[in-house]
Amino acid sequence: MRRRVVITGMGAITPLGHNVRETIEAQLQGQNGVGPIESFDASRFPTKFAAQVKDFDLARFIPNCQRWAHSGINSQFAAAAAQEALQHAGLLHDDRVDRNRFGVYLGSGEGIQDFHNLLSWIYQAYRRETRQLDTAVFERGALSVFHPERESEQELHTTPAHLAAHFDLRGPNYNCLTACAASSQAVGEATELIRHGDADLMLVGGAHSMIHPFGVTGFNLLTALSTRNDAPEKASRPFDLHRDGFVLGEGAAMLVLEELEHAKRRGADILAEVTGYGSTADAFRVTDSHPDGRGAIACMEAALKDSRLNLSDIGYINAHGTSTKVNDSVETLAIKKVFGDLAYRIPVSSTKSMMGHLIAAAGAMELITCVEVLRRGVMPPTINYETPDPECDLDYIPRTAREKRVQHALSNSFGFGGQNIALIVSRFAG
């Protein structure tokens, strides 16, 4: 029999709150975390709003936080969320657990580039006469203004390394970055590491912020973001007929995964069990998901097979639900293909309607939402869902939360470029 994996701790820093409780309570009240961009002047950008984490100061979470002095905000979010998750699991300073068997698997994003100095030296190194960049001028200029530690902290392996070093987690250490599927994939592969016996405990999750000039520029160029600048709080409207793109969010979400017997032995509070994981690729286009949802279908089917559950066991689906035209209709199509007529009886909601899209960190946060649905018996709504789209005809829990006792919940995450991840969490039944 394979080893079973349970969740014994959770932490979150999101546009709706500085911990899991605040975030979930805000979700259940249908609160909106979207507002004008405050971290830089976006007044002339095509999109001028986002869902931002408010008043964040890492020192309030980790008093001795010098390690992150030059880190990007992504890494700082990760630290605060990890602190909460480990504390919740009772594992911050537990000498009884073997830290060599405690690893980290994140799906975490990059740090933030030195936008101003980079652009400034590109400009200064450009020679109009030759229409060429004098790279030697750029090199000398950039060397004189770039900050070595801040440059080094942009690298993708720094976030999981800091967590491992600070919290003394000496097991396997990974970071994957599969766009918007990243932290879900991290949860899935870490589950497999525990099942296989590589570790007994894994800190998993993701952290990301792309609310900076390059990030907004990149997504605006792809015309992926909503441009509803006259009503930002209405902009993220998954499955609604008038949706026009996603809203950038930021933050971090972390979970402690633990082998079941290990959790029982130390008397841990078991929040839920990870029962299903599926991973596929669309293999279609870098810009669009497959129109028939073939990768999305295959990953949900793979997760269901892995969980050994029946279709009728799934009581709630937390959708990827980005609020883009294509995602929401293709995801709806895929859910109907997988669940058949049952699809109309399974409530589906997108919490991106309230907190925006946390990109690499989105999947882990949405899994935490699923765990809380199992625990509280209340499902968060899809806010701003006002006008039905004929192509999106499922029960999206419009506008207000709904009570339901759910035994098993499914969470979808689909990455830009075609990586699809589905996870299933179940009430722990002993």
């Binding site: 830089f40 002047d41 976006a42 007044s43 002339r44 950008f45 060599n100 690893g103 652009l119 400034s120 590109i122 190194a125 450009y126 960049l133 004098d134 790279t135 030697a136 750029f138 090199e139 000398r140 060397l143 203004v145 440059e151 942009q154 993708l156 392996h157 720094t158 999981p160 390394a161 491992a164 070093a165 987690l169 000496r170 097991g171 396997p172 250490n173 990974y174 970071n175 970055l177 599969t178 766009a179 592969e189 497999e192 590589d198 990149g218 605006n220 160029l221 792809l222 015309t223 991973s279 596929t280 690729a281 293999a283 279609f284 870098v286 810009t287 295959a298 830009f416 470029g417 990586q419």
Partner: protein
């Protein structure tokens, strides 16, 4: 530990490197002791303190794609192009008939790093918005006039998951797909993960590897700031000298190392040539660069393989060529192999090609996989004077026959993430 009747074998090798653009030419250069480290030609590097690298002089990604696929090169940074080319070479080398593969059982796992933007992509936008005061962009001008001057798919050209994405699209690989972004250990973690996925029966066939190029002005500036590069600008071929007492820093290289890895029965059914079998994998975190974390990763891999240290022919080292890293690595290796008699020697492929970053581990491992099939291990270059801080025996001077059937590949990052893999010679 779960036992599995399935076995994972390596059946194709794709190499794009400073010393050869396929596995055969890579192997020839290794045997001939030919270094790929040279003065940087790709751009004017005269503003940098370091002007040497393992550059690939004549790489043209078009050579690796069908005509109708070539338009996608516009949205691929050089790193992605190297990966795509390496994947094609791996399929060629493995004599894979793609029409016979089940797309849903065909996975892709790649190691990837941060990909720097090409400066040229941003010139026009910079010129309309960064021209007012030094060090500041006028964000109003950037938003209004700058953004429309950048090509619409700009961001996609630099996303680290695009190596695996493009490869999945080009070859219709719809199985598990992951991009591990863990610096120098990335492609070994990717290979380990693919190995596990094959054993747990969630795929039958994988393209696995890594690729990276930091030989561009922005990445080179950043690397120079980190102050760990060799300054031997005047003698490039002697600059990368793993474990040698005179080492003074790492040398950057570029390239891709890609394997076809598949389930043994799948390989047999399609009549594939088998190079080697993956038999063990382990990963760990090493706080404080003590070496014990690296040793734990190696021990886990040996345990899974069910072998003792003395059964290993050689260790395929990280061999970064910085004073601290090589000493740290040697301490970890010594903890496991220190009692072996005769000693288990070390080979470091970086001495030929430099540090390929996220593409390094698989490209380096390919040298040992080729060595296993040829029965001969190439020498490490530039190992001239032993360093008392590095208690390892380094294979140098000339090729040496393989005497034992296992190779251990180790890799790690400078922040402490470690991995090790045991690969077995195929008979």
């Amino acid at each position: 530990m779960s036992a599995s009747p399935r076995r994972a074998v390596i059946t194709g090798i794709g190499i794009i490197s400073p010393i050869g653009l396929d596995a055969a030419s890579y192997w020839r250069s290794l045997l001939e002791g030919r270094s790929g480290i040279r003065p940087i030609q790709a751009f004017d590097a005269s503003g940098l303190p370091v002007r040497i690298a393992g550059e690939i002089p004549h790489f043209n990604a078009k050579d690796y794609l069908e005509k109708e696929q070539r338009k996608s090169l516009r949205v691929m940074a050089r790193t992605i192009q190297l990966a795509v080319a390496g994947a094609q070479r791996a399929l060629d080398d493995g004599k894979v008939d793609k029409s016979k593969l089940d797309p849903t059982r065909f996975g892709v796992e790649f190691g990837a790093g941060l990909i720097a933007t090409e400066l040229n992509d941003l010139i026009e936008a910079a010129c309309v918005s960064a021209n007012c005061q030094p060090g500041r962009v006028d964000l109003e001008k950037w938003g209004e006039q700058g953004i429309p001057l950048i090509q619409p798919l700009w961001m996609l050209k630099y996303l680290p998951n695009m190596l695996a994405c493009h490869i999945s699209i080009l070859h219709d690989a719809r199985g598990p797909n992951n991009s591990i972004t863990e610096s120098d250990v990335a492609s070994l973690l990717a290979l380990g993960e693919a190995y596990r996925i094959l054993l747990r029966d969630q795929a039958d066939f994988f393209l696995v590897g890594g690729a990276e190029s930091k030989i561009n002005p922005l990445s080179m500036v950043r690397q120079c700031l980190f102050e760990c590069l060799s300054r031997r600008n005047d003698e490039p071929t002697r600059a990368c000298r793993p474990f040698d007492r005179g080492r003074d820093g790492l040398v950057l290289g570029e390239g891709a190392g890609v394997f076809v890895v598949e389930d043994l029965e799948h390989a047999r059914r399609r009549g594939a040539h088998i190079y080697a079998e993956i038999v063990g994998f382990g990963a760990a975190f090493d706080p404080g660069m003590r070496g014990d974390g690296l040793a734990r990763a190696i021990r886990a891999a040996l345990t899974e393989a069910g072998i003792e240290p003395h059964e290993v022919d050689h260790i395929n080292a990280l061999g970064l060529s910085t004073p601290e890293s090589d000493a740290w690595e040697a301490r970890g290796l010594h903890e496991i192999f220190g009692d072996c008699s005769p000693p288990v020697p070390v080979f470091a492929a970086k001495s030929y090609i430099g540090n390929l970053g996220a593409g390094g581990s698989t490209t380096e491992l390919a040298a040992s996989v080729l060595a296993m099939s040829k029965g001969l291990v190439p020498p490490t270059l530039n190992y001239e004077q032993a360093d008392p801080d590095c208690p390892v025996v380094v294979l140098s001077q000339q090729p040496r026959p393989m005497t034992r059937p296992y190779v251990v590949k180790v890799s790690f990052t400078q922040m402490g993430q470690c991995a090790a893999m045991v690969v077995r010679q195929w008979n």
